[in-house]
Assembly symmetry: D2
Homo-oligomer: 184 residues x 4
């Protein structure tokens, strides 16, 4: 079985629920970045051993949270030796608006993966965008480069859209499937 790691920061619990859905789909280890931007003990070792790293962050002010970025800046150490080269990468994010620059966050995660010499896996689910589309459809938000969730500004993590979480689960599932076909 490929080893998949989900590394994420969550401010208010929404991105955490996405992370759990992704991890469920991927059979992945979960690594939560804390409120100071630090990984749990053993986190760097888990990432070093992973075949695929799935990145998760809320979109705050148009990009990843500073805590997530602090983790990223610390990843300059494996970058220096290209220790993560050829790993698969994917990403997910949550914000309050339907767009709200979530695309900026996912594109940044891609940029990061490229610096690490990685290979980026798309969401792989066509948007649900006909007149008959329902809020709880998978990929109702219409994202291609990773999984998006949208949670109204006054909605708690318990109120997240089922389709957004299903889409996150599908991303995890897709990454583990692609990893299974890729003989690193």
């Amino acid at each position: 079985m490929p080893k998949i790691a989900v590394v994420y920061h969550s401010g208010y619990g929404h991105t955490q629920r996405m992370a759990q859905a992704v991890a469920e789909g991927a059979g992945a280890d979960l690594l939560a970045i804390d409120a100071d931007g630090n990984l749990p003990e053993g986190g760097w070792e888990t990432l070093a051993a992973a075949d695929a790293i799935i990145l998760g962050s809320p979109t705050y002010m148009g990009s990843v949270s500073w805590q997530f970025k602090k983790f990223v800046d610390a990843s300059s150490k494996p970058w220096y030796t290209q220790a993560w080269k050829d790993k698969l990468f994917a990403g997910f994010t949550n914000s309050a608006s339907l767009n709200g620059d979530k695309s900026s966050t996912l594109t940044y995660m891609f940029t990061l993966a490229m610096q690490h010499g990685g290979i980026w896996v798309s969401q792989g689910v066509l948007p649900s965008n006909s007149k008959a589309a329902q809020r709880n459809d998978a990929n109702y938000l219409g994202s291609y480069s990773g999984a998006m969730a949208q949670s109204p500004s006054d909605a708690g993590a318990a109120e997240m859209a089922a389709g957004d979480l299903e889409n996150a689960r599908k991303l995890g599932q897709r990454v583990v499937e692609v990893a299974g076909k890729f003989n690193r």
Copy 2:
């Protein structure tokens, strides 16, 4: 009164309705790029004389249509002498999905405006993103860098969301207001 030009391409009429709403808000001239990527006669002169240029295109396969890009490539002539320097710019786009990489289109329009030495004006309307938000609210889609509209894949131009068109009108209004305060 500042002179505002709206230059746009529309494949199926949705972006045209946005263009009309923007032009109504801005008191602007409308320049439609045709199916071969050409401006109407006098188009380049209108753009040369404009204080602000508002760019509109559908999002096709993640960016502006090829017809819009053909117009853009032809704008290398004013670029060469920086003839459009210090003009105000803004942008709008329509696609079938809620996200659907509309953000990529707007960011590209910004990139273009920067090449021309321009000044980019934001949408300036906070997203409507609480639980009480309605599809017909202005900026329900939650865009900051320009105006977005979303029209389901099987919906004609007549069926566009009123809030998306209102948001487009607001963008036009904002550009003319900013232009009025800017003594070029």
Copy 3:
């Protein structure tokens, strides 16, 4: 052997030289988009059969040329059935300036590959960026998401930097190697 296709547009021959270098590295078929934005006969079939598609375009006014975009817009047909899903993708571009928004072009190619349900392969060569760096080093330009070449505004295709072409060759080589490890 994996089948690799290089599909590109070149206005003045620089991007063509890159395409040839990429194809040499990858053992790939070359598909040149013509001055009207059309593929050669059999082009769509070659793309359909490819394990990996490598995209090439000059950077004109901050993104791919309109001819390349016309090809892209026509790719909405395979997009509709996700016929290119799980293919590997990579990209390359040339422009006159060291930056000159080449990054915008490569990021757009990534966005396109994501719409097609693809998997994106990085350049995988660390930048040559110490004080001892030479113009002819591979990845002297410091790109991660694909191959960049820079050709002064008054330099013909014959005068391209050897290191830029070597970097393009390396991208082709990398894509064929990754494709060889990926059991589609």
Copy 4:
């Protein structure tokens, strides 16, 4: 006279030199974000009073430093009331590679400015990109959306390219000129 504020983070002194050059060009106040991501005392008040805010950060791992992002996340307070609406914004960045994803950093700063309802000012200097171009020319790096500097990985802040600093000074000068024509 318009009030211009330069807010920046610098890890090793290179971005600080850029900030000083920008501030010299603009006649601006300098606000240094510290190693913990905090503004100096009175910093938020200076930003609130500014007609234009010029943003500066090194490019670390493809975007702004985490310290800069921590400042950004704290700017959600003025965002909430759109207190910075209609301010002018511009940006600058330094990294070790000629490209090195500096464009990603500047595009992110633009994204941020849009969230604040701002107006973004371009660099406004054509690239020096002919065969006769010299490393010390202003805009030798060929950036349009803001000022870029490139400092080899083993070069101290004292060794920065004069043209990069001149370009930074020009950005400051441009922002104060545009601000002078804009009657907020």
